[in-house]
Assembly symmetry: D3
Homo-oligomer: 241 residues x 6
C-alpha cells in the first residue's frame, strides 16, 4: 500500500479527547498510514445537540481546508453526529467519512441488526435522523443513551465506562441485537474489551472510519465532484473553501 | 390579535435580497404584525449547496440570538434549505419556521401532491433530504431546477423570472401536480402572478412562514424546550446561545 | 386582515360538542375572523370508528355545501380522523383543513417528535393511517388511548379530563416526546392548562386549524382545482356538490 | 365445498354495470357459489373521485346490511377505490374484500411488479393511496389512465376497450412490468382476452375478489371483530349497522 | 370447478411433518382438488435459519420440477420463510405460493394488523425480511417466538402447542392485534382451535396457500413469464429447470 | 497489518471469470493480503436470475466451508446479487461481504446518489430487492441494464465493454448521478478507465469488498454469532456447515 495520510478531525475543541481519538485512529491504522489528529481553533467543548453541531461544522470545514492544503488522502469527522459531512465533502477532494456512518456501515456487514449506545438522551434524535438519511432504520434494533454528557467519558471515566458497559449488556439482551454501535468518539477505547466480554461485535466509528478511508484511498476513489458535491461556488468565505 | 414581532432572517448577506424578503413578509403579515428583516453580519452572498448552508447556519444562530434579545414572537429562516433549523430551535424559545417546511406544509393542505421549482440542480439534493426529513416524499410529484444561481433572480431578474415561469408551466403539465412550491426565498415575488396565470396554487415559503409564525404566536405555542430541542448546554459559544 | 368567515364543522350531531368546538375556535380566531359552528342535519352522535366516519363524511359534505353557499373563506373538519377530507376538498373551492392534520403539522414545527392522546383504542388505527397518509410516521413517538368514548369527554367531563391528563403525563415520560397532540375535538378545552402543567406544547387541532385556514385565506391560497381535487363530475348527488 | 353466497356490491347505481359485474363474478365463481349482484338504492352513477367515493360508501354500507340480513358468506366492494372498505368490515361479520386490494394481492403472487391501468387521471391519486395503505408501493411499476370516465366503458365500449388495450400494451413495454391490474370494475370483461394477446397476466379485481371470498369462507375465516374492526358502537344510524 | 392438482412441498425432509402438512392442505382443499404432499429427496430435517433455507431452496426447485412434469396446477412452498420462492416462480409455469405470504395476504383481508407467532427467535429476522419484501411492515403489530425449534412441534407436541397457545394469547393482548399469523407449517393443525378459543382469526399459511392456488388456477392466472420471472436461461443445471 | 488471506468466491463455475475476479481482487489487495479465488465444484455457468442464484448459493456455502477449513480471514461473494449472503454468514465465523453491498456502501461515501449499470434487464429486480434490503433505495438514482448476459462480458468483451461504457455515460447524464456502481463481477476490469473518462467514481464491487474484508479483519471484527447469524443448527447437511 502506498503511504496514506489521514486527518482525523475532532469537531470539538477538547484536547484530551482529540488525543484519545487520534490514538484510537492510530491503533486502527495500517502500517503505511499516518494519522493527523486535529481540532478546530475555536468551537464547542463537546457536542450535545444541534446547536453544538452547527458550530462544530464550521470547525470541521476549517480543518478540512487545512488537511486539504497539507495533502491528506482522507478526512474523518470524529463525532457521532457526523456534523458538517456533506459540506465537508463539497470542500474536500479526498474522501470524507463520518464516524457514525462508518460504524453503521460496518455493523451491517457483520450483523442483521445493531443497537446504538450513546451519551445524552437529547442526542438520540440526531442518531435517528442519521439512520433515516443513511438508510439504516431497518437495521437498527434499538437506540439507548447512558444519560451522561460526552465529556463525562473523560472527566468521570470509570463511572461513564461502567454505564456504557451496563447499557451495552442491557441493549444486547432487550433488543435481540447482533452488534452494538458505540455512539460517541469518546467511547473508542471501550470497543474491544466490551466485544470480548459480551461476545458480539462492538463497533467503534473512529477505527471503522480509518479503515474506510484507507480503503477508498487505496482504490483511488475520491469524493464525486460532479453535481451534488461539487466544490462550493465562489463567494465570500473563500478562506474556508 | 395582540401585536406580534417576527424576525425574518435571510441566511445570506445579500442586502437587496434581504429587503425583498422583508417586503414579501410584510405583504403577508397581519395588520398587528411587525416584520424585522435581518441578515448575518458575515456569511455567504448566496446559498447554493451544503457548504454555504453550514456557513449560513452560523449567521442564522447569530441572528436568532439578536431576535431573542429583542423579544420577537417568532423567527423565520428565509432560505429554501432551512439551514440551521434545529440548531435555531434549540437556541430560541419562540417558534422558528423555515420557508421550505412552511411552503411544503401549506401545499399539502390544498393539493394532494406538489412540485418544487428551485434554482441550481445541485440544490435539488437539499430539497430531497428535506422532503425525507419532513415526511413529504409521497406528496412531491416532481423536483425541478431552472439552472440559474440564486442571485440571478436579482441580477438577471427578467431572464430568471421567465425561466421560473416556464419551469412552473412545464412541471405543472409533466407531473400532473396540483400545486407548485417555489424553492427559493428570492422567488417570493412571483407567486401570486404565477398562480393566476397557471390556475394552481403557487406557494411561496416566506409568506407561508409568516402566517405559520403568526399562528403559533397567537396560540401561545412556542418551541418545545423538553428533550430534543432544549437549550444548548453551557459551553464556549455562549455568545450565540 | 380582511374579515374572514370560517365554518367549523363538527362531523357528529352532538349539539353541546358543536358549541364547545365553536367556542374553542372563537378563542383561537383573529379579531377579524367570524366562526360559524355547524353540525350535520343527521348523522352519528359521536365518531368512534370507520363506520361512524363514513356516515359523518356525508354530513361534512352537506355542511361544506352550505358553507360554500354562505361564502365562507374556509372549512374545518373538527373530528380527529379528518373524515371526508379529500371529498370535501373536491366540493369546496375555499381551503378545507382537518383538525388531525392541523395539529400534526403544527406539532412538527415546535418539536422533533410528538405523541398522540386519543379516546378509544379502536380509533388508534385511524390515527395510524393518517400519520402514514400525511407523512408524519417518523414524527410520532407514541399513540395512546384513554379508553373512554368521545362523548365521555362531556358526559363525565371530570373523569375524562383526569384520564387525558394522566395519559399526557405518562406519554410525555415514556415516549421522550417533545409535544402532545390531543386526538379529539372534544379535548380542545384542555390544551392550554395541560401545556402549562406539563411544560410542553399541547396541540389542539381545532385552534390549529383555525389559524391554518386564516393563514391560507389571508394568502389567497385556495384548494387546487386542477387534477386530483377538481370539482366532482356532474351526477345524481348534485344536492351535495 | 359447502354452498356459499357472495354479495357483489357495485357501489354506483348503474344497472348495466351492476349486471356486467355480476356476470363477471358468476363466471369466476365456483360451482357451489351463488352470486348476488347489488347496487345502492341511491348514489352516484359512477365513481370518479373522492366525493363520489364518500357517497358510494354509504350505499355500500346499506348493501352490506342487506347482505348480512340475507346471510351471505362474504361481500365484495366492486369499485377500484374500495370505497367504504374498513367501515364495511366494521359492520359485517362475514369477510369483505375490495376489488382493488383483491387484484393487487393476486398480482403480487404471479409477478414481481405490476402496472395499473385505470380510467380518469384524477382517480390515480386514489390508486396511489391504496398502494400505500395496502403496502404495495414497491410492487407497482407504473400507474396509467386511459383518460375516459368509468361510464365510457359501457356507453362507448368499443373506443374505451381499444384505449384500455393500447394502454396495457404501452404500460407493459414502458414499465418492464410482469402483470397488469385492471383498475375499474367495468374492465372485468377484458382481462382474459388481453392476457392472451399480451402474454402476461391481466388481473381483474372482480373475479379475484370472488376467489378470495370463497377462500376465506371455505376456511371459516371471518372479519376480526376484536379491536379495530369491531361492530360500530350503538348510535343513531342503527338502520345501517 | 375443474379438477385441480396442487403440489404441497415441505422444504425439509421430515416425513411426519410432510404428512401433517399434506393433511392440513387436504382439509382446506375444495372437493375437486387433489393434494400431492412432497418433500425433497435430500435436505435439512428442519429449517431454522438462512443456511437451512438455502439448502431447502434446492429441494424446493427439485420438487417444482417434478410437480411440473406431473402437470400440477400449482405449487405451495410450505415453510414460513418461503425459501426459494422467486427461483421456483422462474422454474414453474403454474403459480407458486409460499405459506408465509399466503397467511400474510389473508390476514390483511380480515384485520387491520396481525401478529406473527413463530418458533425460534433466530427466525424472526426471516419474517422481518419477508414483511419488508411483501410490503406488510405496517400491517404487522408484533413478532413473537415460542423459543422452540420447528421439530419440537412434533417431538414434544403437547409442550410446544401449549407454548404456541400462550404466545398467541399474550400477543393478542400486548399488540392490540386483530389476527394472528401462525409462523410455521408445523402449526397448521392448531389454527382453528386457537381461533375459537381466542375469538380472533388465526391464519395458517398451508390452508391459505391452498385456497390461493385454487383461486389462481380457477381464474387461469399463471406465473408471469415476461421479464423478471421468465424461465431460467439454459445452463448446466438443466436437471432442475 | 498482519497478513490476511481472503477467499474470493465466484458463485458461478466459469473458470475465466474466476481468474479475472481473482486478478481484480489482487490488484485491490494490500501488500500483506493473499487472495484465493474459488469457484463452486458444480453450479451454473453464469447467474442471470433467481434460479441461478439459488443454485449458486449452494456453491457459495460449499466454498465458505472450504475457506473456513483453510483459515481465511474473510470471504467475498463475487456476484452482484450477493447470493447466499446471510446463509454464508451463518456458516462462517470470519466476515463475509457481497460485492453488491460492498459497492453500494462505498458509493454512498463519495456521492449522494449512485446509478447502477448491470447486465440483463431481468436481473434489475435483484438489484431492486438488494437496495431495499440494504437500505439504499433513496441513494439509487437509476437502474440500468446493458441487455447482454454476464458471459458476454467475456465472450464478446469488446462489444460488451462498449455497451457498459455507453450505458454509464447515459446514466450519468440522465440520472444526475454522482457515482456509478458496476453491477456485475465481470465488469471489475472496467472501473478505473471509465472513472477517468467520465470524471465520476465508478465503483467495482470486487475491489470494494476486498478493502471491506481487509478493514474488518484488521479491526478484529468478525460475523456476529449471537442470534440471527449464529451457526446453523445441527442437521443432515453437516458437510456444508
Amino acid at each position: 500500500m502506498k503511504s496514506c495520510v489521514i486527518q482525523v478531525i475532532n469537531p470539538n475543541i477538547n484536547l484530551a479527547m482529540t488525543r484519545m481519538i487520534g490514538d484510537a485512529a492510530r491503533r486502527a491504522a495500517a502500517p503505511g498510514t499516518e494519522i493527523i489528529a486535529a481540532r478546530p481553533s475555536q468551537g464547542v467543548p463537546s457536542i450535545e445537540g444541534h446547536f453544538d453541531e452547527a458550530i462544530a461544522a464550521i470547525g470541521v470545514l476549517e480543518q478540512i481546508k487545512q488537511g486539504k492544503a497539507y495533502g491528506v488522502q482522507g478526512h474523518i469527522i470524529a463525532c457521532f453526529g457526523d456534523p458538517g459531512l456533506l459540506a465537508a465533502r463539497e470542500t474536500a477532494s479526498a474522501p470524507v467519512v463520518g464516524i457514525a456512518e462508518a460504524a453503521m456501515h460496518m455493523a451491517t456487514l457483520v450483523a442483521t441488526r445493531f443497537s446504538i449506545v450513546t451519551t445524552l438522551p437529547r442526542t438520540l434524535i440526531i442518531a435517528r435522523h442519521l439512520l433515516q438519511r443513511y438508510g439504516f432504520e431497518h437495521h437498527c434494533a434499538g437506540l439507548h443513551a447512558i444519560d451522561l454528557p460526552v465529556l463525562a467519558l473523560e472527566a468521570h471515566a470509570e463511572i461513564a465506562q461502567q454505564k456504557v458497559r451496563e447499557c451495552c449488556i442491557q441493549s444486547s439482551r432487550q433488543d435481540g441485537t447482533g452488534a452494538i454501535v458505540l455512539g460517541c468518539g469518546g467511547m473508542a477505547d471501550l470497543a474491544s474489551a466490551l466485544a470480548q466480554e459480551l461476545g458480539i461485535p462492538e463497533i467503534d466509528g473512529v477505527s471503522a472510519a480509518v479503515k474506510l478511508i484507507e480503503s477508498l484511498a487505496s482504490l483511488g476513489i475520491t469524493t464525486s465532484k460532479r453535481g451534488d458535491l461539487d466544490y462550493p461556488l465562489a463567494g465570500m468565505f473563500n478562506q474556508l473553501r
